[in-house]
């Protein structure tokens, strides 16, 4: 099936969504996502940040779609034409969605553990405005402990439903869901029942904001002062392939590995996440691939080396003599 996104044509198999097709083209035209998660079925469609304009439905039915559609939940048709960044209307609408997501967000980034790896920060930086037009009291909730390892800070939640879907789909027995409705809706474990299973820690990884945080890591360190490395161990419950966040020889936290779109590659078990905090527990493979745009990459040896080489190359080209070589 041929689909054109922002004037770039791509051939994709049947059943591909517009978002997946856009991601195949590249990050430039891929719409931002806050709730969609490839690994989780029926996720997406809630946050509305990935809306795009369909200017031509298909070859058979060339009529445009009347309203913007959520690209994460709309499958492509042969000959479909889609506008994302080329449509000023969509950029304006997206700005509106980001504003809605931020009006009740506490903006407590300076004390939030998610800062630096927060999707809402990135989204606000790229698509938001510098000033808020909201002048009312923001929504507030008390912090809740979900079990002894996870902290729920509902005030920061954007109700993406990712954690709900994770609990539904990777473990048996639904103990986590959404209660109340409208802007009073909150994620919750029913009657404050703790999430008590081997894979509960994954809700921390899928959370795009700082609503669900790892209590063993809270306030330990800003993420950009830690060094992420890919590591593995032999585990009977999960694949054992993780990302270990180091500060010197200290293991500050363990998370699942994330791909280019900030989505978990393989879910990991709580034992790997919480119980193995020694460097000796892990076989370290090497530095994790972190996007150059991310603030975390400043500690990245791989990139630093690359950068140093580039600088040297440029200096050489300019006939610049390094300090220590100067007479």
């Amino acid at each position: 099936m041929k689909v054109t996104i922002d004037g770039i044509e791509i051939d994709v198999p049947k059943g591909t969504t517009i978002l997946q097709a856009a991601r195949m083209i590249g990050p430039e035209v891929a719409p931002p996502t806050m709730c969609y998660y490839t690994k989780l079925k029926t996720s997406g469609g809630y946050c509305r940040t990935c809306i795009v304009k369909v200017t031509k439905g298909s070859t058979q039915n060339p009529n445009p779609m009347p309203k913007p559609v959520a690209s994460c939940r709309t499958e492509v048709m042969d000959g479909m034409e889609v506008q994302n960044i080329t449509s000023p209307e969509i950029l304006e609408a997206r700005k509106g969605v980001v504003e809605f997501l931020l009006i009740n967000h506490p903006l407590d980034c300076p004390v939030c553990d998610q800062a630096g790896e927060c999707k809402l920060q990135d989204l606000g930086y790229e698509h938001g405005s510098a000033k808020t037009r909201y002048e009312f009291k923001r929504r507030e909730y008390d912090m809740i402990d979900i079990g002894d390892k996870i902290k729920l800070h509902m005030t920061r939640c954007i109700l993406c439903y990712r954690c709900v879907k994770t609990c539904e789909q990777i473990t048996d027995g639904r103990v986590h869901g959404v209660v109340h409705r409208g802007d009073a809706a909150e994620i919750s474990t029913y009657i404050a029942k703790a999430i008590d299973n081997e894979f509960s820690g994954n809700v921390i990884d899928v959370c795009p904001v700082g609503a669900l945080t790892d209590k063993t890591f809270r306030f330990k360190q800003r993420v950009w002062f830690t060094k992420p490395v890919d590591a593995h161990r032999s585990c009977t419950k999960c694949s054992g392939k993780t990302r270990v966040w180091l500060k010197g020889d200290e293991v500050l936290r363990v998370t699942a590995r994330k791909d280019q779109w900030d989505e978990v590659e393989e879910f990991i078990c709580n034992s790997c996440r919480y119980d193995h905090k020694q460097v000796s527990d892990w076989v370290i493979e090497g530095p994790s691939k972190i996007s150059r745009q991310s603030v975390i990459s400043q500690n990245h040896y791989e990139h630093l080396n690359e950068l140093k080489l580039q600088v040297l190359k440029q200096q050489k080209a300019l006939g610049f003599m390094p300090l220590d070589k100067r007479p």
């Binding site: 469609g45 809630y46 946050c47 509305r48 809306i51 009347p66 309203k67 913007p68 959520a70 939940r73 609408a93 509106g96 969605v97 504003e99 809605f100 997501l101 009006i103 009740n104 037009r133 909201y134 009312f136 954007i158 109700l159 439903y161 869901g177 959404v178 109340h180 409705r181 409208g182 802007d183 009073a184 809706a185």
Partner: protein
């Protein structure tokens, strides 16, 4: 006198019982359809009649039925949407309360046309006493062999169940209704797939309004062509209108589509004019979510033609100078009404009823309510009108289900037609008392 097809014998004593209902010609359509017609013939009659969905969107019912997927070995369902929650609409309640058998008769005939072995009537939580009435009627129908195995000695078997909702406006949206019926949280589903392909428990499902289903009986009885003769153009048949507001005779009226709006408001047969001899200021013609229109635009279109009570005439001029027939919740307001205060009650309702699934509606409805509250408190600025306009434009069309639009349209229309009123309030800083709403706030908070 206009012709009545649905509530013509609503004043007959004990019409809610099967005995009296049958004595007045009830269940004739079931006899006719099951014994003399094939399911496709019934569908064809409905198509010919030009009947349009009475729930609000006005989608042709025959067309909706023909979209129903019919795979082998998969059950099909008919679901009746009796979750009538639109402020200003109370026609379904009236019908179910007085003539519950009209609904059940329609359910059997429609299910026969669709080949549905099971049907559900989803009644909103606040109508629990109506649910009892309908349940009693169903019990009577089972006893008389009109429901259950081999109805009236034919091969057709059918079961009908009543399900009472939890009292959420959002469960009137068809996919949220199906979720709720399945026992889940009533969040609207993302479409496609549409219920006609994958609805209740993933099976093909038709969801129709109470009045639509009840209207199938007269269509089968009199024939689709005959039914289509009533009305104007594509708006055929009769429609129940819930008239409320500052009129002399509020209530439920059955009108032939095509009478003029002026006639409806001022004639003695219907609303009987504005109470206390006041002048008409504005009308919300189809339930709280459709755009409000000032008196001069509701009586005459922008072209100067008289406005008719039809789907087409009411929407003439788009949203710039028109509105929608919607579900027929006709709210008239006299010259003393504060549009801003009225809008606040609507905004408050949509804020309270948003399901919270998608961000523009969850956050935007509350924001709009807070800004409108500022107007009432006398603390609003003139720039707040612009802000309000901007917020509604960012909600409209960006949400999963139509609740976003339903919340945005009244705000847009009020600003479009009554902007001066907003500016005057912002300038005067006058305090408008809504403390009597606090009682409600305590209940709902």
């Amino acid at each position: 006198m206009g012709r009545k097809l649905l509530i013509h014998n609503d004043k007959v004593p004990n019409i809610h019982t099967l005995e009296v209902y049958r004595a007045h010609g009830g269940y004739a359509s079931v006899e006719k359809a099951l014994k003399t017609m094939t399911p496709d013939q019934v569908t064809d009659e409905v198509k010919k009649s030009g009947l349009r969905g009475r729930g609000g969107a006005g989608f042709p019912t025959g067309l909706k039925w023909s979209f129903l997927a019919k795979p082998e070995g998969v059950p099909r369902y008919l679901v009746c949407n009796a979750d009538e929650s639109e402020p200003g609409t109370f026609k379904d309640r009236y019908l179910m309360e007085h003539i519950p058998h009209a609904l059940i008769e329609g359910m059997i005939t429609s299910s026969y046309a669709l080949g549905a072995k099971t049907s559900y009537i989803y009644i909103r939580g606040e109508y629990f006493y109506v649910a009892r009435i309908v349940e009693n009627a169903i019990r009577e129908a089972y006893a008389a062999g009109l429901l259950g195995e081999n109805i009236l000695g034919t091969n057709f078997s059918h079961d009908c169940y009543v399900q009472v909702g939890g009292g959420a406006y959002i469960c009137g949206e068809e996919t949220a209704l199906l979720e709720s019926l399945e026992g889940k949280r009533g969040n609207p589903r993302i479409k496609p797939p549409f219920p006609a392909v994958a609805g209740l428990w993933g099976c093909p499902t038709v969801v129709n309004n109470v009045e639509t289903i009840a209207a199938v009986c007269p269509i089968v009885n009199m024939g689709g062509d005959e039914y289509a003769k009533i009305g104007v153009g594509k708006s055929t048949g009769t429609k129940l209108i819930s008239a409320s507001g500052h009129i002399n005779k509020p209530g439920v009226y059955e009108i032939e589509l095509g009478i003029t709006v002026e006639d409806f408001i001022y004639s003695e047969e219907y609303c009987g004019g504005i109470r206390n001899g006041k002048k008409l200021k504005a009308v919300v013609a189809g339930g709280s979510s459709v755009p409000i229109l000032p008196a001069e635009l509701i009586l005459k279109t922008a072209k100067g033609e008289p406005r008719l009570m039809t789907y087409e005439s009411l929407s003439d001029g788009g949203f710039q100078t028109g509105t929608m027939l919607g579900s027929g919740g006709f709210i008239a307001m006299d010259e003393d009404t504060s549009i801003v205060k009225n809008l606040f009650t609507f905004a408050r309702f949509y804020h309270h009823e948003s399901c919270g699934q998608c961000s523009p509606c969850r956050e935007g409805t509350g924001w709009m309510e807070k800004i409108l509250k500022k107007f009432l408190n006398g603390t609003a600025n003139e720039s707040d009108v612009e802000l309000l306009w901007d917020i509604q434009s960012k909600i409209e069309g960006k949400t999963i289900c139509p609740l976003g639009e339903a919340a945005a349209w009244p705000v847009a229309a009020a600003i479009r037609h009554f902007k001066q009123e907003f500016l005057d309030i912002a300038k005067s800083k006058k305090f408008i008392d809504v403390s009597h709403y606090n009682r409600l706030n305590k209940i709902t908070a």
